[in-house]
Structures are given as structure tokens and as C-alpha cells.
């Protein structure tokens, strides 16, 4: 029997131990975040299952405040020694700091937590390696069923069970459990001059309802289409962006840029192109964006944020008008806006930042296919190579459409290689023409496919 993820009572015990240790060390203001994560993964290499991983990870992040001076510490062992060391080190660091005149204390739990169903599914926890192997094989088989030319260099099926707890000296004491199942496959087709780019496709769910066959088929389809290389030209034209190209956590253009641009912290510091524009009509009528962590069963949903503040639905953009930003308690306090329950802890750097929990681009109607069919000439951007280098302060970007496909007379007719897409998110969002209803859950974003007018394409 493998080691299990810590239960909710066990995580609360750890947090209580932190509290006791803080009292012993005469620390009156503290905040603690404990996480235990059990990951099972089956990896794919060269079309075959190549290995199985089993990872149990724990983490405890503590912040203390001594006379307005805040210090933090982290350890990865849930024992008494670890909790005491965390408090002791955090106090040492706090004593080296200058007093923060903006400090208003760790937040209290001012609202009841919302009920957010569908975050935990036992069937995800009970998935074992043989079943996950079969899922991986089904995904690969589905990709290869599209064409014999398709290969799958890598991929994975991953199940996660996680217990998260938050406690502070202002009365927060909260714990939750969640599960997530993710499937990822990368397909390539062709060879030599006609080789496709990496065609990644993925899916995420809180339960076992992932259609791995569909994920494999989509990756295989896009790889196969990308081998028919056609010439692109330098022009401004209509472009359909796939949900992945806009919403993927680390590479989706809108998720990468808007997560930073809508953060109250960056607004407060003036390093967002959206600063000072609240109330302005800035984008197309088709653009409505919420931060919505309350949706049932979504991967970004949760009842409270990483400071233990109740999560809420926050309207950010309403039919093109910028209505608000997301705030953590510290920056919400100093800006006078208050927390929107959007604190996210970076356990590597120890920072607590404001960011959307689940950026929801509101869908309209139709599928990506219907957006494609509406174009006489244009492009389909499936992935954004280099979107992580976008300038999140200015909104400027310049990436390679990869995979990028040419649309003629309402159909995808082949792939284009090396077509650069450049511009600024603000200009681009003014030119949203249609929004699909084909929403994909990327965890931190819920994104449909979108048709943009007048997108700059550059080729060699």
C-alpha cells in the first residue's frame, strides 16, 4: 500500500502545531499554509508507456509579523521539529526587516465560505498504474488512428490528490481536499521539410470524465494537418485562436498576459497596461471576463484563497468595459479596494500575490469549426511558440503560430511554418469578432476559441 495523502484532520493538526509553536515562541501574529500532494503519473515516450511515478510531497509555509515586520519560512516536513524551525526562522527574518507602515495584519475570515461542489472525486484517487497505462495507450492509439504518419514523442496521464490548509492568528482555520486528473499528449507528423511542429493537446478534470481518445484525436489531427506546408504571407487578416493558444497556463496568450495585467498588485504599482482604466470601455462588446472560482467541478474552483479568504465571483470585464481587478488582502487594503479572495502563494519565492483563481472568458455560441467556416481567408493559431516572452506590463507580444494553419474558403487547408503573430493585447481585444462556446478548462482559465480581426502576420 503506497503512502497516502495527508487527511484534512492531519493537515489541521500540522497547522495547530504551528499555532502552538508560535505561542511558545511568543509570536502573536502568524499565518501558515500547509499542503500535502500525492501525484501518480504514467509517462509516454515514443508512442509507448515508458514509466510510472509516485510522488508524495508536503510543504509548510509560515509568515510571522513582529512589530509590523514580516518574515517567512518554508519546510517540507510535517513534524514538530519542522514547524518549530519554520516559526523560529520566520521570526529571525522578521527581526531583520523594517517595519511596514502599510501592514494591517493577517486577514480575518469575514465571510462564510461558498459551497463549491465537485472538487474531490474518490475515483481519481483510486486510479492505479495499470488503469492509467491503459488510458495513456488509448490516447496514443487515438492520435495514431488519424494517420500512420503521426507519432507521439511524449505525453502523460497524471492524477493528483491534494489537501490544503490555511490558518492565521486572526481566526482563519480552513482546510479542503481536491483531486485533478490531467492528460497530455504531444504529436508530431511527417519528416524532413514537411515535419510538423510539436502539437500538444491536453485536458484536465476534477473527476474521471476525461475523454483521452478525443484529446489524442485532436493532437493527431492537428499534427497531420500541419505536414501539408503552405506559404503564409505578411498581412493583416482574420485569425481564429484555439482555446489552448489563449488559455493554457504557461503558454496561452491571454492567460499569460491577463493574469498579470488584472492583478491588483500590479495595478497598484502601475506596471499594468490596464492601470487607471477601470470604468473605461476598452475592448470589444464580445469580451466579458470574470474570475469565477465558484463553478462546480472546475479545476480552478475552490472555496477560499491561499490566505483563507472566501473565494468569490468577480466581474473583471463586462461587454468590453473594464469593471475591476483581483486583490489579495495586503494590496487590497493599501489600495482601499479590499480583498477579492485572490491571494496565491508562490511556495518557491515565499511571496503572496494577487492573481485570478479561474479566469473565465464568457462563451457565446458556436464551435471552433463554425468560426473557421466563417472565414474566406485567414489562419488558425493552435499554439503560441514564445508567448511566455510577452510583455505583461505593456501587453505587447510577438510569437510564432506553431502550429499555425491556413484557412481558405472556410476550411483548414494546411500548415504554415514560421508565421509570426505580433501586436498588443489591448488592440487585439478591440478586434474580437466572435467568441465560441467550446470552453476548455485549463485550471487557471476557462477559455473558448475566439475569432480576431486584423491580426498582424509576418513571414520571411
Amino acid at each position: 500500500m503506497s503512502k497516502a495523502c495527508a487527511t484534512e484532520p492531519a493537515v489541521l493538526d500540522v497547522l495547530d502545531a504551528v499555532s502552538a509553536s508560535a505561542r511558545r515562541q511568543k509570536v502573536s501574529e502568524f499565518d501558515a499554509y500547509a499542503v500535502c500532494k500525492r501525484t501518480r503519473r504514467v509517462t509516454i515516450e515514443r508512442e509507448s508507456v515508458s514509466g510510472a511515478d509516485s510522488i508524495l510531497a508536503t510543504g509548510l509555509h509560515v509568515r510571522v509579523c513582529v512589530d509590523g515586520k514580516v518574515g517567512g519560512a518554508f519546510c517540507n516536513e510535517f513534524d514538530l521539529k519542522g514547524t518549530a524551525k519554520c516559526i523560529e526562522q520566520a521570526v529571525k527574518i522578521a527581526n531583520l526587516m523594517e517595519s511596514d507602515r502599510n501592514w494591517s495584519g493577517f486577514p480575518s475570515r469575514s465571510k462564510e465560505y461558498p459551497s463549491v461542489p465537485g472538487l474531490y472525486d474518490k475515483s481519481v484517487v483510486s486510479l492505479d498504474v495499470p488503469i492509467m497505462s491503459l488510458m495513456a495507450e488509448e490516447m496514443v492509439d487515438s492520435a495514431r488512428s488519424v494517420s500512420k504518419a503521426v507519432s507521439a514523442p511524449y505525453g502523460a496521464i497524471e492524477s493528483v490528490e491534494m489537501t490544503v490548509g490555511v490558518m492565521n492568528s486572526s481566526g482563519v482555520r480552513s482546510v479542503m481536499s481536491e483531486t485533478e486528473l490531467e492528460a497530455l499528449i504531444c504529436c508530431v507528423a511527417g519528416s524532413g521539410e514537411s515535419i510538423s511542429p510539436d502539437c500538444e493537446e491536453s485536458g484536465k478534470s476534477r473527476s474521471c470524465d476525461l475523454r483521452v481518445d478525443k484529446i489524442g484525436e485532436r493532437a493527431g489531427w492537428i499534427a497531420e494537418k500541419s505536414t501539408h506546408i503552405l506559404d503564409a504571407k505578411t498581412e493583416e487578416c482574420d485569425v481564429v485562436f484555439s482555446p489552448m493558444s489563449l488559455g493554457a497556463g504557461d503558454a496561452g496568450l491571454l492567460n499569460v498576459v491577463l493574469r498579470e495585467a488584472l492583478s491588483g498588485q500590479n495595478i497598484h504599482q502601475g506596471i499594468s497596461f490596464l492601470a487607471g482604466k477601470q470604468g473605461d470601455h476598452i475592448w470589444s462588446e464580445h469580451v466579458t471576463i470574470n474570475d469565477n472560482p465558484l463553478l462546480s467541478g472546475r479545476c480552478g474552483s475552490r472555496p477560499f484563497d491561499d490566505e483563507g479568504i472566501a473565494a468569490q465571483r468577480t466581474r473583471l470585464v463586462n461587454k468590453g468595459t473594464l469593471e475591476g481587478y483581483v486583490w489579495d488582502s495586503y494590496h487590497g487594503y493599501i489600495s482601499g479596494e479590499g480583498s477579492t479572495g485572490n491571494a496565491i502563494r508562490n511556495l518557491s519565492s515565499g511571496t503572496v500575490v494577487a492573481a485570478p483563481l479561474c479566469l473565465q472568458f464568457m462563451p457565446e455560441r458556436g464551435s471552433m469549426k463554425s468560426l473557421i467556416e466563417s472565414l474566406d481567408h485567414g489562419y488558425l493559431v493552435w499554439g503560441c511558440q514564445g508567448s511566455h516572452t510577452s510583455n505583461t506590463e505593456t501587453g505587447g507580444f510577438s510569437f510564432v503560430a506553431s502550429p499555425g494553419l491556413l484557412i481558405e474558403n472556410g476550411e483548414v487547408v494546411g500548415g504554415v511554418r514560421g508565421a509570426m503573430v505580433s501586436g498588443n493585447v489591448t488592440d487585439m481585444m478591440k478586434n474580437v469578432e466572435r467568441v465560441g462556446a467550446d470552453v476548455v478548462d485549463f485550471g487557471s482559465a476557462l477559455m473558448p476559441s475566439i475569432l480576431f480581426r486584423n491580426v498582424k502576420i509576418t513571414t520571411g
Binding site: S50, D53, L96, V188, P197, T389
Partner: protein, 465 residues
């Protein structure tokens, strides 16, 4: 008191490993200090203690991997990895074998003159505060400055069932600074990165004093503020060592990692001409102050320099032991893991183009119009050899002379078409230190080379709006 090595050796010699083809145990016991500043205010200071281990086992030709925190359950972790390998379906790969190596016993000590863990936190904070304060002061149009610093010290240990024992004392430090400002109503930004995996605090005080970082940031910011937009399309260009390094990394480097080569655009071109005779490119385990320096890789292989392009001819691939066995070549020592929490992958170390014989003036001359790309923000490669590199410092070239600065832009190309269009290689050399991402693992690498020039058609320019 038992050391990390003791814990792993005890488990590696226990009955639990019997019946396994191969067992690889890795453990870290580290302390990380992270400091985040904006303006001259400290946003957070955190000290992170991390101790844990992992087991990677090969059982009947199938891999199993397990991770656990702390050091008290190593035998259980091996059992967990073995069960995972055994539970794979019958269709899973079962012919995995490793290239044989001679097991090594190494104790790799840090060469830090001023160990990072012996420097007061207050001194580190003061160093960063002065960078932020002086950057803001350098130009009244500057609105925000920030600094993110982290260092890691401690022990990393590798033990294998074949008898390899490697202990390393870590001394990693990385500093990323950034500045933002407004000019003519437009937001602009620039950033700077430095790091070390071999030296101590002297890396920051001797060479990259705070003043030098401020000077670089301020220069890049002014260029952004005063820059003109780039002309979209393809143009002749000259690239600096930092940019040529990024091209080495993105255009061919990733595709020469054996696991990516197999499905990449260069597969089948081994021994063929892919660039002019002036072009030689290597991946080296050790250069002076290299951020990708490796003394033994994370499979215990003593690393060697790999020639990826030899005078224009496509050379060999970077391998781990598994791919070396598959390809029938010697392992190159490129197996690297971010920490004990993840299995090693084939990764670059210090990747660069070798020097040529031309001066910068010679590279610039005869270019009626083009661009001189100097500094980068990051980039990405694809299997089809498409590359994208974001540029934060760039100038026009007009009739062989440097002209106006150019605002942020990105360059791209397809390496199979771009490499043959390199028409000049400089005689200087420099490199950049940064983190490279692959399958969610961030690994320190250096990328460098001399100045180089490309004919029109080699590189496409797209401007940020």
C-alpha cells in the same frame, strides 16, 4: 548523526533492491533564501528548508520512480518505485537498458570564496535595495524597479546500485532585476539576469557589482523609451554573443537532445552539411563561470563536451545512459534533474558557437539596412526547428553603421533554413546565464558564442506593438 549518503547507502545495500535491474537514489538537504524587492521596499524574505529523496528503478526493462520527503523511508520509497514499474501494462516499453559506465565515487566541493550561507541576510538585502534605488534614480521616467534573488546551499547526493556515489555541495545563486517606465505615454520595461552554480557571494560583488547591473538596466530602459518600432519582415542582421547563444540553444540545441532529436527536423541529417564551414557549435560541461557547469551528471556519468555542429556538419547528440544504449554511443553526461523530486532528463549545459575570425565592424559592413540584436528576454524551440527569441535591446544597421535603437521585438526562423544563412562569425565570445525549461523542469544553463551575421531570409522580425 547519519548523513544523506549514509541513508542512501544503507538502503542501496539492503534486501529491498534485490531483483531490480538498476536502482538510482538521489537526495537533497538544502536551504534556499529568497528575497523579493520592489522599489526599495522588501516584499518578502523567505528561508526554505528542504530535505527529501527519490528512487528510480529499472525492473524488467521498465522504469518506476517514487519520491518522499525526509530521509527515514528510503527503503519504502524503493519499494514504491518498484511497484510502480511492475504495475505498468504489458504493452509498456520493456526493453529499456542503460549504457554501461564505470561507477564513480566523487565528493564535489563548492569553490565559493564567500559561501552564500555565510553572508548576512542584511548584506544581501542591502545589495538588492541599492540596485533598485539607484535604478529608479538613474532616469526620472523610471517608475518601478524590482529584484528577485534566490540562493541554494546544502548537499545533493546520488547513489546507485552499481556503486556510484556522488556527493555535491551546492552553491547556486540567481538574481533577476527588472525596471519599468513610461515614455510618451507608453509603458516600457527591461530586465537583467545573472547567476552562478560554482561561486559564492563574490560573483555579485566582484564582477556584477550593483552599479554595473544598474548601468545595464538603465541603458536598456533608455533604449526602449527612445526606440523606434522594427520593420516587420526579414532583414540581414548581426547578433551579439547573448543572442547567438540563445539561437544555439533554441535553434539546434534542444533538437540535439537525443530524446527530441528522434522526432525532430534534423533527424536523418547526421553527417550532412547544415551550416557554413565557419560554424561550429558545442555543448560543454564546463566553462569559466558557466551557469550550466556539471562535474558529474545526475546518473553519475563523467560529462564530456559534445560537438553538435563541426565546421558546418551536423555532429552527435547529447545523451543520457538510456539513449546512449539505444543509439550505441557513449553517454555524454547530459542527464540532469532539477532536484530529487523529478527524474533526470537530457538537458543542455553550456551551449555555444565557437569563435570565428571577424570583427564586429566587418560583420556590420556591407549591410545597407538591417538590425543588430544585442540582448534577449527568452525564447522557445520546436521539433520542426522553428525558433522564437524575444529581444530587448536592438539597433538599426544603416549602411554598415549602427543607427537608432529599436523597441522590443521578437525574431524567429526555421533552423534548417537559418543556419545555412550564417555568413559571418566573430572572434569575440560571451555568454548568458539563465534557466531553461523542459517538461516543467527548470535547469541552469549558459548559452553563448561570438557575434554572428545572417543573410536576409535567415531571421524574421516581428515587433511588439
Amino acid at each position: 548523526m547519519s548523513t544523506l549518503l549514509d541513508y542512501l547507502l544503507k538502503a542501496a545495500r539492503s534486501r529491498v533492491v534485490s531483483g531490480l535491474d538498476y536502482v538510482e537514489l538521489r537526495a537533497d538537504d538544502t536551504v534556499q533564501t529568497s528575497i523579493e524587492l520592489r522599489e526599495s521596499s522588501i516584499e518578502s524574505v523567505t528561508r526554505k528548508f528542504e530535505c527529501g529523496h527519490s528512487a528510480r528503478v529499472l525492473k524488467s526493462g521498465r522504469w518506476g520512480f517514487a519520491v518522499s520527503d525526509g530521509m527515514n523511508t528510503v527503503s519504502e520509497t524503493i519499494t514504491e518505485a518498484m511497484k510502480a514499474a511492475r504495475a505498468l501494462s504489458q504493452r509498456a516499453v520493456s526493453d529499456t537498458r542503460l549504457h554501461e559506465i564505470t561507477p564513480v565515487k566523487m565528493d564535489i566541493r563548492s569553490k565559493a570564496e564567500t559561501p552564500l550561507n555565510e553572508v548576512d541576510l542584511a548584506e544581501k538585502v542591502s545589495y538588492l535595495t541599492s540596485i533598485c534605488r539607484n535604478t529608479t534614480k538613474s532616469d526620472r521616467r523610471m517608475t518601478t524597479t524590482k529584484a528577485s534573488y534566490s540562493d541554494i546551499t546544502g548537499d545533493r547526493v546520488l547513489v546507485t546500485s552499481e556503486g556510484t556515489e556522488v556527493r555535491q555541495s551546492l552553491s547556486h545563486a540567481y538574481l533577476k532585476t527588472g525596471a519599468s517606465g513610461k515614455a510618451s505615454g507608453q509603458l516600457v520595461s527591461a530586465r537583467d539576469e545573472i547567476g552562478t552554480v560554482t561561486r559564492g557571494w563574490e560573483r555579485f560583488t566582484d564582477e556584477d557589482s550593483g552599479d554595473k547591473i544598474v548601468e545595464r538596466l538603465a541603458r536598456k530602459m533608455r533604449l526602449q523609451m527612445d526606440g523606434v518600432p522594427c520593420r516587420r519582415g526579414t532583414h540581414p542582421c548581426v547578433v551579439s554573443p547573448k543572442v547567438s547563444g540563445m539561437l544555439a540553444h533554441e535553434a539546434l540545441g534542444h533538437l540535439s537532445e537525443a530524446d527530441l532529436f528522434a522526432a525532430g527536423a534534423f533527424n536523418g541529417l547526421e553527417g550532412s552539411r547544415v551550416a557554413s564551414e565557419a560554424v561550429t557549435m558545442v555543448d560543454s560541461p564546463w566553462i569559466e563561470d558557466g551557469f550550466g557547469n556539471v562535474t558529474a551528471d545526475d546518473e553519475g556519468v563523467v560529462p564530456k563536451t559534445v560537438t553538435l555542429i563541426d565546421k558546418g556538419i551536423l555532429g552527435v547528440q547529447m545523451t543520457n545512459r538510456e539513449w546512449a544504449a539505444r543509439l550505441g554511443i557513449e553517454p555524454t553526461g547530459n542527464a540532469r534533474a532539477e532536484s530529487y523530486r523529478v527524474p533526470p532528463l537530457i538537458r543542455m549545459r553550456n551551449t555555444y558557437f565557437e569563435r570565428g575570425d571577424m570583427s564586429l565592424d566587418e560583420l556590420l559592413e556591407n549591410k545597407k539596412f538591417g538590425y543588430y540584436c544585442v540582448d534577449i528576454r527568452g525564447g522557445q524551440a520546436e521539433s520542426n526547428s522553428s525558433f522564437q527569441v524575444s529581444i530587448q535591446e536592438c539597433y538599426e544597421i544603416v549602411r554598415g553603421e549602427l543607427g537608432r535603437p529599436v523597441r522590443s521585438l521578437a525574431i524567429s526562423g526555421v533552423a534548417t533554413k537559418s543556419l545555412p544563412l550564417i555568413d559571418g562569425v566573430g572572434k569575440d565570445f560571451d555568454f548568458e546565464s539563465s534557466y531553461c525549461g523542459k517538461l516543467l523542469q527548470a535547469m541552469p544553463t549558459s548559452d553563448g558564442g561570438p557575434h554572428m551575421s545572417f543573410k536576409k531570409g535567415g531571421v524574421v522580425f516581428g515587433g511588439f506593438a
